[in-house]
Symmetry: C2
């Protein structure tokens, strides 16, 4: 990856123009061609396992010498199983129904006009991400499946891994006779490249998808001149209601927090109904600690569990992405709703309860992208939703919300068939 | 309407905060309450017919003394029939199914999780419009039905008419026990108020809907810090294919252009397949002229019809909103697709042909919000689509495209029901 180039704007706009040209070809490409490319990309990624791991080892060595956090290293790390997972995900995406041309709705008007709403590609997607190199493959594949060209801008920390994955994707595209310009990766680490993408590359970029920490997403939302699928942090909550089954509460809380702490769907805050604090709180906190989690509690929590580290207000605003959880007691489902309205990033929240009315109230009053009842927040994932992969979890409310899969990467238009109808 | 106020930002942000508070109440309001308010609003508009017409007469007098164009006067003019139409439209919107809480999709995962995608309100909508006073009622009602608060910013030319309509809407809201803050109208003509709305009123505005001419929409797209439902001009085309029925071609072209020339769905350009120029062109152009339309033709058109006024390239880029049409010959459906790709604003295009293959090719290759086959472009209207009213015709590709009705004014979230599922 280059540090700087003389004419960054020219380079970036040229990428935009080539993406736009490729997007026109993709929009007219039949499903079989796109799926053949996706399968060829999977084969190419597997065939390149050795060189991808070698590139990743270089990225990891740099990251370790910079003393990056464990969660950062976890997101950056590839191994044979994760590379096999990338290839598997590409094949899963190939096997999905093609979203382009699908008739989302059809109805007939009293005057005989037949109106169909048909899915169409968006055009060109700009994806800006940080350390997770598998985004290169997932985002490239999802954009291709949905008929869009994509310009990828990965973090410099994962530049070697991403470049090696991208090279394999390009080989797959060419094998299927599709333009390599359909999936491009910015070859310059200069952060001004992000500014060029946010300005839209002279009208070539239709939407920006930022994936990363708060500072990246806030910069994108502030500076973008094109639509953005906002992906803010995942400040996810698990609320244990007074009617919760205690064993389920323990297992859902531990899985939500500890299955993988570096993902946006991991829980950062546990809320326990004060009505059952005496029975439910300690078993959950003990299980979290036994799993290696640091517990930070409010004053009310520490009154029942002096082992808890004191939690500040800032703790309840923090996406740890690490084996730490903040804990508070709340006054029933209404208390949980208030706490979540104040602190949540609008990503994912789970209620554990055997009371359907409490779950229904929680579902109706919490305005987050994903709400779960008696299930782990770690299900906040496009694959787990059956979308066959995702480009991220959107926390904005426009167009895409929650897991962004191939359907969310399409637009639509209306196609109206008549027999000479005139409007009176 | 005030010209200026000392603390415009304070006034606007206060409106935003009140809208946000009202939006929380609306989001939890049952359909019956919202529908009762809409019917009360219709009654109040009818009861206020006299005062709305008096206010409109003042606006019209000012517009005439400023020598505004006929199309402008047409958009501004209210009469008893149009006011009855406004009330009727409010009742139509009340009778629509409530979009909030509707389950747009539901599926079960192999692990037993049941996932529902449920429609939710967006929050607060900012609507910026120009001279058409009925937008006040339509936008207010559609936002209310979809559970959103709205801040309306009408043009100063229609300020008196819009204020009179808004007063009736507020009476309807109060009659149903809903907060009057749910539908607010900016009481200051200072254009800086628009800038405040585009900045988002301190996070209170979730989306901006601009309705107006190119300069308004371009300003909004350039300056908005929140998502925008772009409503660019309607540079709509009618293409008469070589397989068109000649009588249908005449009637569709005349209706598309002349039914109402001041609406965005009126045709501005006629394209005729050169293969049938000898038979089809003159009957269409004669009929247009007989209906009072000025015909501006390319060189190829004028070679066959010397009566046509010469058309420049600029003509093909112009939304006349008047009884003028630009005309060119093209080389079949591919020629029409190329011309439209170059000149269209992406709003609405119609093909007249008896050949299903030509229509299918047109539908698949033209990327505009609404495509019609053998029907008038004037059907580009939410009411005609069965949406029971619209806030505009979006030409962007994100979230809403084509007529923006109540469904397009909602977001959604995912509600997942489990029985203790953990992610492996």
């Amino acid at each position: 990856m280059l540090d700087k180039v003389a004419d960054l704007q020219g380079l970036m706009r040229n990428m935009g123009a080539r993406a736009k040209a490729a997007s026109r070809i993709l929009a007219q490409s039949p499903p079989e061609t796109k799926d053949a490319a996706l399968r060829a990309m999977a084969d190419a990624v597997e065939a390149a396992t050795h060189e991808i791991l070698a590139a990743n080892a270089e990225d990891l060595e740099r990251a370790r010498s910079s003393a990056m956090a464990a969660s950062f290293i976890d997101r950056l790390t590839l191994n044979e199983a994760r590379i096999a997972g990338i290839a598997e995900s590409l094949r899963d995406i190939a096997a999905l129904p093609d979203p382009v041309g699908a008739v989302a709705a059809e109805w007939t008007r009293p005057n005989g006009l037949v109106i169909r709403r048909v899915r169409t590609p968006i055009g060109t997607i700009g994806v800006i991400y940080e350390s997770r190199p598998n985004v290169t493959a997932d985002a490239g594949a999802l954009c291709l499946k949905s008929g869009n060209a994509v310009i990828l801008r990965g973090g410099s920390d994962s530049a070697r891994s991403s470049a090696a994955i991208h090279a394999a994707l390009a080989r797959g595209l060419e094998a299927a006779g599709l333009p390599a310009d359909a999936i491009q990766i910015v070859p310059v680490s200069d952060r001004a490249a992000v500014g060029e993408m946010l300005a839209g590359l002279d009208g070539a970029v239709d939407v920006i998808v930022p994936r990363g920490g708060r500072s990246l997403v806030e910069r994108v939302q502030r500076d973008a001149r094109v639509p953005v699928f906002a992906h803010l942090e995942g400040l996810c909550h698990v609320y244990v209601d007074k009617s919760a089954d205690i064993d389920m509460a323990v297992s859902v809380a531990v899985n939500s927090k500890m299955r993988r702490t570096g993902v946006c769907g991991s829980a950062e805050t546990l809320l326990v109904d004060e009505a059952v604090a005496g029975t439910h709180l300690l078993p959950i906190l003990d299980a979290l600690r036994a799993a290696g989690c640091e517990v930070r509690g409010s004053g009310a929590v520490r009154a029942l569990d002096p082992a808890a580290v004191p939690a500040t207000d800032e703790d309840f605003r923090t996406e740890y992405l690490d084996a730490i959880i903040s804990v508070d007691l709340v006054n029933g489902v209404e208390g949980a709703i208030s706490h979540i309205a104040r602190y949540s990033s609008g990503h994912t929240e789970s209620i554990v309860t055997q009371d359907p009315a409490a779950a229904e109230r929680f579902f109706g009053a919490v305005d987050s992208a994903i709400l779960l009842h008696n299930a782990s927040t770690q299900f906040a994932d496009g694959g787990e939703f059956g979308f066959g992969g995702e480009i991220g979890i959107a926390t904005g409310k426009m167009h895409a919300r929650g897991p962004v899969g191939v359907e969310q990467l399409t637009s639509f238009n209306y196609r109206v068939s008549g027999s000479g109808q005139l409007r009176p």
